[in-house]
């Protein structure tokens, strides 16, 4: 995990290495200065030697200025290294997500990916910065302060050693004790956030059922749990400060006692005692910082795990070694195709599909909820790979194509379609970045979108809000169809893409398809028989199997499911036909 993350330091390697170097130089100044201080007191002030005070004072000021310089420099490189590392992590994850296949995407929730790209990266960034600054600083500080202490007075230094070991053990115990509570706490946080998210999306249901109080009560419970775990964790953590103080004060008292004896006996100076006081506080503070950094690292660890999970996710669809870059025509063949989302042969979503669709045909697809209509068409642009058998487009196995070539020729309007923030024009140009305004208008005419777009005050330059929330469902669907048409594909797939469009407009769209793109193979998934009945042939899917495949008339005569659907939609039709 660490190795994989480290690779993302990339061009910030220099800053990452320079930071500890500057930190070491800064720490050296930090250690030198108290030493000089004690000299000023003993040799200068103590003996009334002002010249000495000036010289060493100047030296000390020089050292502080150098310390300042190195401190600022290390801060600068640390900032650059850590934020740069974060940038690379976000970039790496985002780029990898873009290469995900549909089945990779299915594995992660949108919210989960967003958290990984933002909060988790921030956690890692902060921990990384702490590591390169403090993990070098604190140990050096401890070692050199120890060294100075031993240099001043080895016997007294033993007191320090004891103190450090004592504090170290206690801090370690605190951390060990607190970790499981924090882990639980984070999980509870997730639940709490999920409950907010849920209420945001479902607010109409909450209000319609007057369940505000019920939701508030549920939330209070979740928030109470978070509170409980937070208290449990912090109750342990709270020992940090007093234990630290305790150690420090014990040291001061011991130093005072022992130091006094040493000074009186003449084996130590008052200045030396003063610097020992300085070192001991520096020492213990460093230890304290280390324990804090450690807590941060432990917290960031779970973030890092979640990041590497995304970084390591390999797309399970890869271009073949020697890809084909042209699609001959819009014919489609399914050859003994089995498919399972879970790649489990015993849990097939599609079973033994065999059929041939000719180039330019219009094919309707009908089937109940969960009959695998969407699954069936998603295999054609190779959004998923078959589990067994093969799908051929233009006579070539889809796995042999260059993926981009294939998908540009197989245009699909998804059931859950999305528009992006930007103008209508920008959205349409997803289909073809080079499309001229005329081409845009033509496509919109065919999709029956031109009429309403032209009514907007800004026409094709009207701004679409994120997710297309400022156009109605039917308008959105028509824009999505126009966008797909702009690709000028050899195969066009509409996955229940006109469900929010009224019957008349729906019919007009199909009429336009017939006239404008007769050579394109069209696959239309629909709920309404009227949407598919004039197709060349209709596939009836039932529970992942082909139940019928033929023309409207043929199916009406031979297929029970089809007839049942037809009758359910046309019931009482005698009446209408009389009028029409």
């Amino acid at each position: 995990m660490i190795k994989r993350m480290m690779a993302y330091i990339g061009e910030f390697r220099k800053d990452t290495i320079l930071t500890p170097v500057f930190v070491v130089l800064e720490v050296m100044m930090d250690i030198l200065i108290p030493f000089l201080m004690s000299k000023i007191i003993d040799n200068g002030v103590g003996r009334g030697d002002m010249k000495y005070v000036y010289t060493v004072g100047a030296l000390m000021i020089g050292a502080s200025l150098l310390g300042l310089l190195f401190g600022v420099l290390s801060g600068k490189t640390a900032a650059r290294a850590s934020t740069g590392f974060a940038r690379n992590l976000r970039r790496g994850m985002y780029h990898n997500i873009q290469d995900f296949s549909f089945s990779n995407i299915d594995k992660y929730s949108t919210a989960g990916l967003i958290t990984r790209l933002t909060t988790d990266v921030t956690n890692v960034q902060n921990a990384f910065q702490m590591i390169i600054r403090m993990f070098v600083r604190a140990p050096i500080m401890i070692v050199s302060a120890m060294f100075m202490c031993f240099y001043i007075n080895a016997k007294l230094a033993l007191v320090f050693l004891g103190a450090i070991i004592f504090l170290g053990i206690i801090l370690y115990l605190i951390m060990i004790g607190v970790h499981p509570f924090f882990k639980q706490l984070f999980r509870k946080y997730d639940d709490l956030n999920a409950s907010v998210q849920e209420n945001l999306t479902g607010i109409r249901v909450v209000k319609a059922y007057v369940r505000e109080d019920h939701e508030i009560e549920k939330f209070h419970k979740a928030s109470e749990t978070v509170y409980d775990y937070a208290i449990k964790a912090e109750k342990i953590l709270v020992f940090n400060a007093p234990v630290m103080q305790f150690t420090m004060y014990v040291c001061i008292l011991l130093l005072s006692w022992l130091g006094a004896k040493l000074i009186v006996s003449g084996s130590m100076t008052t200045g030396e005692l003063m610097s020992l006081f300085t070192y001991i506080s520096a020492l213990l503070i460093s230890l304290m910082i280390m324990s804090m950094v450690f807590v941060m690292v432990v917290m960031a660890k779970s973030s890092a795990e979640r990041i590497t999970e995304v970084l390591g996710e390999k797309s399970d669809l890869a271009n073949s070694g020697n890809p084909v870059f042209t699609v001959k025509d819009g014919s489609i063949e399914f050859d003994h195709v089995d498919f399972s989302y879970s790649k489990n042969e015993n849990n097939l979503n599609l079973k033994n599909i065999n059929l041939t669709i000719h180039s330019g045909e219009t094919i309707g697809i009908i089937g109940g909820t969960g009959s695998a209509k969407t699954t069936f068409v998603q295999l054609i642009p190779r959004l998923y790979d078959v589990t067994k058998g093969s799908v051929r487009v233009g006579g070539t196995d889809v796995r042999d194509y260059d993926i981009e070539t294939l998908r540009n020729q197989v245009s699909m309007v998804l059931q859950k379609n999305v528009l992006f923030s930007g103008t209508i024009k920008e959205n349409l140009r997803w289909g073809n970045p080079e499309a001229t305004d005329e081409e845009l208008i033509t496509a919109c005419r065919q999709a029956q979108a031109a009429e309403f777009i032209e009514k907007f005050p800004n026409g094709y330059d009207s701004y679409i809000e994120q997710g297309g929330t400022n156009v109605s469902g039917g308008q959105k669907q028509r824009l999505c169809i126009a966008r797909a048409l702009l690709k000028k594909p050899k195969i066009l797939i509409l996955d229940d893409s006109t469900s929010a469009v009224d019957t008349r407009t729906d019919a007009l769209i199909r009429k336009a398809f017939k006239e404008a793109i007769p050579d394109t193979t069209k696959l239309i998934i629909a709920q309404r028989i009227s949407s598919v009945e004039e197709a060349d042939r209709i596939i009836v899917l039932d529970d992942g199997e082909i139940n019928g495949f033929g023309t409207h008339q043929e199916l009406l005569e031979t297929n029970d499911i089809y007839r049942e659907v037809y009758e359910s939609q046309m019931k009482g039709d005698d009446n209408d036909e009389a009028i029409a």
Binding site: T118, E198, L200, V264, M274, R407
Partner: protein, 662 residues
């Protein structure tokens, strides 16, 4: 995702964030997305107010605890400073006198050390006490903030959710609350301790030596100035960083939501390029923010050393010249104080960024808490009643299944009216925004147990009508009457309790399938739940799930198909058992074959109720008692199926449109 029906027409909203200036939409508070904090002027004044409010928010709940905390902080700080002062005594009073004496008497030193030990012990105990109490204060305040925000959120009108990005509201609970945690649990006690320490250090310094204290004050002025400069810089970039983080978040959210579309259109390269651009922007501002923040400590620390040297030189001069009776121990103690002072200032500066961020967070939270909740002047309530033989109505506590409106009048009398489901619109005008009306002069009435259908193209205003009946939005003009009572007089909760709604976008909640059905009636028994599921024809698929009715639903029911979710929504409405039912495209995602099966249950469900149906599928609306054909916010035709077909008007066109091209 947002509800699709909140804007039935693009003209109503949508230009709020548009790039085309001058469309007029920008001035509209309802349509604009929440602005990024910190971009406005008058920040200074606002943050002062925010601080006051934040402090009072915490203080109000925990007055007593905070008093104890304050006392403990004072004790702890005094112990700390006392320890420093003791060093002067140690050297001057105990060690130096002993030097050169033949008979060393350590007992005074021992006694002094024992007293110090006691003081230190007091300090340690106080530190523990205040840290421990602060846990409860901090976590309790956070809990309160979260609960207050959530309760407030539940009270906000639907319009609020239409015009605010969900990601933005979410981050109030995460990012913004997190900044408060640091502020309350760390910054506040530390700042309090620091102030007390500074005061006690200043006093001690004055006692020790006045000229040196002046030098110290001068140095402090310089340090404060520098802190302000560097802190200001880093604060500026931190704000910028939060803003850039916001845009990166927004972009990620949008692209992840549409990731499959990106794949289908092979748009990965463009998506990467745009992201890289935003990501680099974030990197730049984060880099600058951290750079300045990191610089603060070394600058202050080392200036502290310079200060130290100056004090040492001056102190030495004073001690040597013997002016003002300054001693070696005096210098040592003063230097130690100078060092503590420097450390304290560094501590304050260390909290500076946390405080800046917390203010930004608190400001956003308070702005959210200040959003106007749904108002409700209604006083007519829904009660359970029992009817006696001669038609009299008596209010009872228990659930009888018979409901009535309890209508108190100005003269103190109370009348009861049985809930029948009589709905009438009288010349209703409505627009989501003032400028753009969506409904004009809508007149209609529904008799109890009638089935009323609305048809018309998208954007005609069908959903809007149903949103008015339950008062998701308030009308601009006209009147809506429910059982003869103006709906403005009915308490909103009671009004909604009498209406069952099944929406096009089904939303489910985390919990089991049974919990979700029970959402319509919290105290429903298992049998009732199963009966409702059977009615909606959901029973069959539920039984096929691995855990049946106890299958957990997570993530808005992502593990169920759209159709299955809708069946659950219908079951939920069935158990709710309201006199009036609104079905907004309730069956649009159910295939027609299943719909035919559901229809049976639906028919049972609709029996004896007033039902409003919105559907695209004309087969769904055909057997309605009255069909309203809507266009551009007006009802243009009304009548039953036969009448409308006979009219050969819009309905006829809509209905036969499917066949004319065949």
């Amino acid at each position: 995702m947002k509800q699709s029906h909140k804007t039935e027409s693009i003209d109503a909203a949508g230009k709020g964030k548009g790039q085309n200036a001058g469309t007029g939409g920008e001035q509209n508070p309802g349509t604009g997305r929440e602005q990024n904090p910190g971009t406005q002027g008058k920040k200074q004044r606002a943050s002062g107010k925010t601080m006051k409010r934040l402090i009072s928010y915490v203080v109000k709940e925990y007055k007593l605890s905070l008093l104890v905390v304050l006392a403990a902080i004072i004790l702890s700080s005094v112990a700390n400073v006392g320890g420093t002062l003791f060093l002067k005594k140690l050297i001057d009073g105990y060690i130096l006198p002993m030097i050169g004496q033949t008979e060393q008497d350590y007992s005074p030193l021992l006694k002094a050390l024992s007293i110090m030990a006691l003081i230190y012990f007091g300090g340690i105990v106080s530190t523990y006490v205040y840290s421990r109490i602060m846990i409860y204060v901090a976590q309790g305040s956070l809990k309160k903030v979260r609960n207050d925000m959530f309760a407030h959120m539940e009270s906000l009108p639907i319009g609020f959710f239409d015009s605010h990005a969900h990601g933005n509201i979410m981050s109030l609970y995460t990012n913004d609350t997190d900044t408060l945690r640091q502020m309350i649990s760390q910054s506040m006690p530390q700042l309090a301790a620091s102030v007390i320490t500074i005061v006690s250090i200043a006093i001690s310094m004055l006692i020790l030596n006045i000229p040196l204290t002046l030098v110290e004050v001068l140095m402090m002025v310089l340090i404060v100035y520098l802190t302000k400069y560097i802190g200001g810089k880093s604060g500026k970039y931190f704000m910028l960083q939060q803003k850039d983080l916001g845009s990166v978040n927004g972009y990620i959210e949008e692209m992840m939501e549409g990731q499959k579309v990106v794949k289908v259109f092979c748009h990965e390269k463009e998506a990467k390029n745009k992201f890289d651009e935003l990501n680099d922007g974030l990197f730049e501002s984060a880099d600058s923010a951290n750079k300045y923040a990191n610089a603060l400590m070394p600058v202050l620390g080392n200036l502290g050393y310079v200060n130290y040297v100056l004090v040492a030189i001056l102190g030495a001069l004073l001690a040597i010249s013997g002016i003002s009776g300054f001693t070696l121990g005096g210098i040592a103690a003063f230097l130690q104080l100078a060092r503590s002072l420097n450390g304290t200032v560094m501590q304050i500066s260390g909290q500076l960024n946390a405080v800046i961020m917390a203010f930004a967070g608190a400001e956003r939270i308070f702005r959210f808490l200040d959003e106007k909740p749904e108002t409700d002047e209604g006083y007519v309530t829904l009660v359970n009643v029992r009817e006696d033989e001669d038609g009299g109505i008596e209010e009872v506590k228990e659930r009888t299944g018979v409901w009535a409106w309890r209508h108190p009048h100005a003269d103190g009398t109370v009348t009861y009216k049985k809930v029948c489901g009589d709905v009438a619109f009288d010349d209703v005008d409505f627009g989501y925004t003032e400028e753009k009306m969506v409904l004009h002069n809508v007149k209609m009435f529904a008799k109890p147990s009638q089935k009323i259908a609305f048809v018309g193209s998208t954007g005609a205003g069908k959903t809007t009508i149903t949103n008015l009946i339950n008062r998701f939005y308030d009308i601009q003009d006209g009147k809506i009457r429910y059982d003869g009572i103006n709906i403005n007089k009915i308490k909103k909760d009671d009004l909604r309790r009498s209406l069952g709604i099944v929406l096009q976008d089904t939303h489910l909640f985390t919990g089991t399938i049974a919990d979700n059905i029970r959402y319509g009636k919290l105290e429903a028994t298992r049998e009732e739940v199963i009966a409702a599921a059977k009615l909606a024809n959901a029973d069959l698929f539920i039984r096929h799930l691995p855990e049946g009715y106890d299958t957990m639903i997570s993530g808005d029911g992502a593990n169920l198909s759209q159709g299955q979710r809708q069946l659950l929504a219908i079951a939920r409405a069935a158990i709710f058992n309201p006199p009036v039912l609104i079905l907004d495209e309730a069956t649009s995602s159910i295939d027609t074959r299943t719909e035919a099966i559901v229809q049976e249950g639906m028919d049972k469900l609709m029996e004896g109720r007033t039902v409003f149906v919105i559907a695209h599928r004309l087969s769904t609306v055909r057997n309605s008692d009255v069909i309203m054909v809507m266009e551009n916010g007006r009802i243009i035709e009304r009548g039953d199926h036969e009448e409308l077909i006979g009219k050969k008007g819009k309905y006829y066109q809509l209905y036969t449109g499917a066949f004319e091209l065949a």
